[in-house]
Structure formats: C-alpha cells, structure tokens
Symmetry: C2
Subunit: 214 residues, 2 copies
C-alpha cells in the first residue's frame, strides 16, 4: 500500500565511494566460502547486504542452543536490515557466495528503497508463519522445495545447496522427518534426488507440488 509514496521517498544512504559514477564499484563485493560468517549476534550493525551469487542463511540461537533459520537469501535478495543498531541474528554463506555490502558512512550516494526491502522481508516472514503453523511436515517440505524451484524458473533440475539439517532448522522439523518427507515426495513421483548428498532436485510434477502447498 501507499506504494507510490514509498517509491518517491526512497531512503538514500551513503555507499562506499570508489569514485565510480554509479557509486557502486565492481570490486566492492565480498567473496565467501561455504559456512563463512558474515555477521554474528551482538555485533554492531554497519551495513546491509545484497546477494550477488550463492545463498545465505539468517538464523538465531535460542537459549537452549537450538538453531532456528529465519530465512534463506538467494540472488538479488537483501538482508541485514534490522530495527536496532545491534545484530539480533547470524548470517552465514551456505555455499560459495558473493555479496555486496552497503554501508552508512561513505561518500557516494546509493539510493536504496529500505522500506521496500523491509516490507518484502515482512511479507516473507508472514508467509512462512502460515506455512509452518498450518501445514503438516510433508506440506512444509513441499512448500520449501517449491520456494527453491521458484528461484530456478528456467531449470527443472537444480542444486538446493543446503543440508537436511539446514532445511529442518528452517521448517521447524527434525533431520529425520525432513528425510522421510523427501522419500515420500520421491515415492509419489513428484521429484527425483541425485548427487552424492542427494541435494540435486529434479521436479517431475510441479503441479502436484504446488497443489500440496495450498
């Protein structure tokens, strides 16, 4: 809502000043290997990030040491925008990943619609609430696969990259339940699994998959 206003009122923050006309020099992006930390809970929040390639997991640790993954961020998605100036969660690369930071105190002006980023993340969080609360384990996994498939609109086969444990912590299930759900989806001929870690997914029946997530 109020969409026209929010676009007009793009919040401008200052990005790194490498002197390039656009203020976004190519070399400013950060390369990460699998499981490398981007930021941790309690750190001072200095920047927001956009994923250029690869994927990132955003998670929290509960008092009991349990990990809960709030979101996975793929290419083009933004993360690191928080209410306070102290990180409330952790961000890690899932695989080889490239991200672009936007900091607050530099020279070049980079216009970023922070409100749009916040609202997009809010919509995602609300959708996830519905998926987790109302659905059975099988439907949650189906919704997850569907979400991953949406990120690869061209291919019907793709690498989900995250481990079963990542998926479990994302969906609020256990590793065993996630594995069992994947087998059920295989037996139903909705998808195939391949690769040494069974992380290559080939969607056989997208319609059936979508039908399950409703």
């Amino acid at each position: 809502m109020l969409q026209n206003q929010t676009i007009v009122n793009q919040t401008t923050i200052r990005g790194p000043g490498y002197g390039s006309p656009a203020g976004m020099a190519k070399d400013q992006s950060i390369q990460l290997k699998a499981d490398e930390t981007i930021y941790s809970e309690g750190e001072h929040a200095l920047a927001i990030y956009q994923v250029e390639a690869g994927a990132v997991r955003i998670y929290r640790l509960t008092a009991s040491g349990q990990r809960y993954i709030l979101s996975f961020c793929g290419k083009g998605e933004w993360f690191g925008l928080e209410t306070g100036n102290v990180r409330t969660d952790f961000a890690e690369a899932i695989c080889d990943t490239s991200i672009r930071p936007f900091r607050a105190n530099r020279d070049a002006i980079v216009p970023i619609d922070l409100l749009n980023i916040a609202l997009t993340n809010l919509a995602k969080a609300q959708h996830k609430q519905l998926v987790i609360t109302e659905q059975s384990a099988l439907k949650r996994v189906a919704a997850f696969v569907n979400e991953m498939a949406d990120r690869h609109p061209d291919d019907c086969e793709f690498d989900i990259m995250m481990s079963r444990s990542d998926i479990a912590d994302y969906l609020g299930l256990t590793v065993e339940t996630v594995a069992r759900c994947f087998t059920k989806l295989r037996r139903k001929r909705i998808l195939c699994l391949d690769g040494k870690l069974q992380r290559l997914v080939r969607i056989l029946d997208r319609d059936a998959l979508i039908a399950m997530t409703i």
Copy 2:
C-alpha cells in the same frame, strides 16, 4: 541498523486535512464495536492505521477456510502497511476499539516513519516464528500471556479480551489445547482466571511465566 539515516529519512505521507496545525484532527478517529471489520482481503489499500484504544486482530484465511491470526495490535501499534496496494489480510476489532487512519491523498502533511513501522512489524513476525516453531503448546500459551501482560505494565490483573478461539488461531493450536494449557498454568499457581468467560487474567508469578517462555 542504519538507525540515524532512517530517522532522518522519515517518509512523509499526506494525511487528512482538517486544517489543524498538526494536521491530525481529533475527530478523525474511527470507533468500532466488537468484531467489526476494518478492511478485508482483496480491497484496495487506502490507509494505514494506529490503534488508539482497544485491540485489533489481523488474519488470513487459507484455501481450506482455516483462519490464521498474524498479529494482535494494541494501543499505539500500527497496522495496514503492506507491500502492494491490495489487502492481503483482514483486520477486525476484537472489542470496542478506536483507531486513527492515515490516508495517502489529502492535504495536511503527517510525518510517519513507515520504515520504522515495517521493521517493528518484521521483528514481531520473526519473534512469533521462533515462539511457534520451537516451543511446546504450554510455552506458546505462556508466551502469549506474557505478551499480553507486557501491554499492561501497571496492572497484574487485566482483560485479555480475545476468545480461546482467537488465541488458538494466533498460536497455531486448537481451542481445547489452549484451554488445557490455561488450566495447567492455573494448577501451577502462575495465574488466576476470572470473569464470566474466564478472560480476566491475574498474574501470580510473573517470574515463573517469563522463565517458561525462554
């Protein structure tokens, strides 16, 4: 994060122009009775709202007709800020309620920090994800009661106003489970229930309640 920037860059939208200096005339607020609809899914989003008194439930209906309550909004809280210009959910008054709308196309300028509202709602949605995913039914109900208690910092006895069914749809449980959890909390001498509909809560042991929600 980037807090100083976001405060400086308050998005200004145009509010109703009643000619008052502040642009916020007293008579613009809307009075609602219990269960009155504020807006519905599919409607054009014209305004955002702030609760002046009472409480509001924001919910969605799944394809199967199941209701899921995304949030309860109490005094001072904002709702109705969405990504697109079409409502994705429903808003209803829970009890006698007074709300103040802020529309986009009027005369007087009302400065509202939309980004801050969006980020606050995002933080709430993320916290709710953690509560619902990681916790048992009893802990969820404890977290809910705690949330309500936070809204009444002065009194140790207060009216939660929503029905068991509201609470169930908010926490992703059934009415029966919610009732059983309330009885458990009574038996543990953590709270008392009173009133004809058992919606008057008196907190007996706030520390124990807080301890349960961790």
